[in-house]
């Protein structure tokens, strides 16, 4: 589904991604972990071209999306993204946050977009909050609306950029539950997260990134319990107690 080869990205002097290779197959949940500043978020943002990579290639279902002839807007319709800070549009209600892309990007009729949006909001358990503005929702509710907004575009892949890091502990569960359901339904997901419970139970693949390269990847039990690389071991000993 997603194939990344030799991806490089620098910001000025800072060489963030130094040749990333990554494969995610259809229906697979890939969990990316690593120290802060290792390039996890940059990698995700490269996949939907919010950041344009300097070198290397990304393939989405055999389409080379790093090809200059590909419109980034087209790519972003296929790739849903959920942000750490939710980023719901503050001037629109929950419903309008979801319908905006449907009407303006997909060109759906208003009534059809509304039905679709309500369906997606029901999926994340927020049918009763359609008319609330983001500021009237809890963090967990906002993040679930953000997930519904991304899902409404019928993406082929969902990217999650630390979706629970900005949440109070009592709201983390509800967001992880939605993500788990989504994974069980067969959605292809790339998740940057340090929720080790989620990674262990839901992820098919855990990828450790450090200093802009993939250090080690494998099934969660291998990465967590029998890491082969010294850097993986050092990182795991810091986050697993």
């Amino acid at each position: 589904m997603i194939r990344i080869r030799g991806l490089h990205k620098s910001f000025g002097e800072l060489h963030v991604l130094r040749g990333i290779d990554l494969d995610v197959s259809q229906g697979e949940v890939s969990c990316i972990v690593g120290p802060s500043g290792s390039g996890k978020s940059t990698l995700l943002r490269c996949i939907n071209l919010l950041i344009e990579p300097d070198r290397g290639d990304i393939f989405l279902e055999e389409v080379r999306i790093t090809d200059p002839q590909i419109r980034p807007e087209w790519v972003r319709q296929q790739v849903g993204m959920v942000f750490q800070s939710f980023n719901l549009l503050t001037h629109l209600t929950a419903l309008r946050n979801v319908t905006l892309g449907l009407t303006k990007v997909k060109g759906m009729e208003a009534a059809a977009a509304r039905d679709k949006a309500i369906f997606e909001l029901e999926r994340v358990g927020l049918a009763h909050k359609v008319d609330a503005y983001p500021a009237q929702l809890s963090g967990g509710q906002q993040q679930r609306v953000a997930i519904a907004r991304a899902l409404a575009m019928d993406p082929k892949v969902m990217l999650f950029d630390e979706p629970t890091s900005a949440l109070d502990p009592e709201y983390i569960r509800e967001v992880l539950d939605v993500m788990t359901t989504l994974a069980n339904e067969g959605m292809t997901m790339i998740v940057v997260s340090h929720e080790m419970g989620f990674a262990r139970n839901v992820a098919d693949d855990v990828v450790l990134i450090d200093e802009g390269v993939v250090v080690e990847r494998g099934p969660p039990e291998d990465i967590f319990d029998r890491p082969t690389h010294e850097r993986t071991r050092a990182f795991m000993s810091k986050i697993l107690r």
């Binding site: 344009e52 807007e73 942000f83 980023n87 500021a135 907004r149």
Partner: protein, 300 residues
Amino acid sequence: MDSEKPPTRRIQGGRARLLEVTIKLGRPALALVITLEMALVFVCLLGLMGVVDLAFLGGHWTSFGGPAVISVGLTTVAFATGFALAVPMGALRAHGPRGFGARTRLRGAGRAGRGVRNALVAGGYVSATGYVEGLRGTPIYVQMWIVFYVAIFTWPTFDYVYLLAGYLALTLNTVAYQAEVFRAGFQSVAQGQIDAARSIGMRRIQVFGHVTLPQGLRLVTLPLVNEWISLFKASSILSFITIKELMFQANHVGSNLGHPIEAFLTVAVFYLAITIPLSRLTSWLEARNRIPGLGFATGR
């Protein structure tokens, strides 16, 4: 969001009732009443001291009504024209010389189309910046005379050339200030909001229209009203090019009828009576368009 309003402080006696009335009317309404009352008391005092001819005032103050309509009308038309021109100018300024999708790498459109677009954006940015700096750095009085002479040499036979020159002078000036207001507003929209809109596949122009513009406009309501008030007061210089607005009428009553103190006191009260209700209007506009969590509380 009603539950988030701070509880009204309880104060005993007559002051409490006054306070309640104040809160109901809103502070700006009370400010208007107090200011106008104080102005009237001041004028009456001057009358008792023999400085002001109250009988003359009573007979002539209504003659400022028509000129007031011209002042407000010209200001508003110029402000509206300026608004329409300042939004794109502010957007150009906010996005910088390489904004609006100008990219280092070729993407999407053909190479030629991309090059032309980048050149247009960069050229637009440089022109907008030059315009803003030029107009903000010179007195509106100087600008008015330049526009005036250009206008009368260009259309010497046009009957309304004075009015046209006045309108153009105000418009050209307010565009520069409003463009800076919009630039600040657009730049205040959080990057996360723009990322979110782009992440669902919206094009740059859609992101601008559906996110940056509506959020930015709400942020700049207050500075925009300030600009209208500034422009309204600046419109007094149009009396020099014989436009029969408020200041022209004051000069006429002061010089030709020989009552300068009465004339200028009256015109001052007219300016106040128009500018103060505006702050009430602003609060109302802000409250009406307010969205929970966006922008600042109005403090009421």
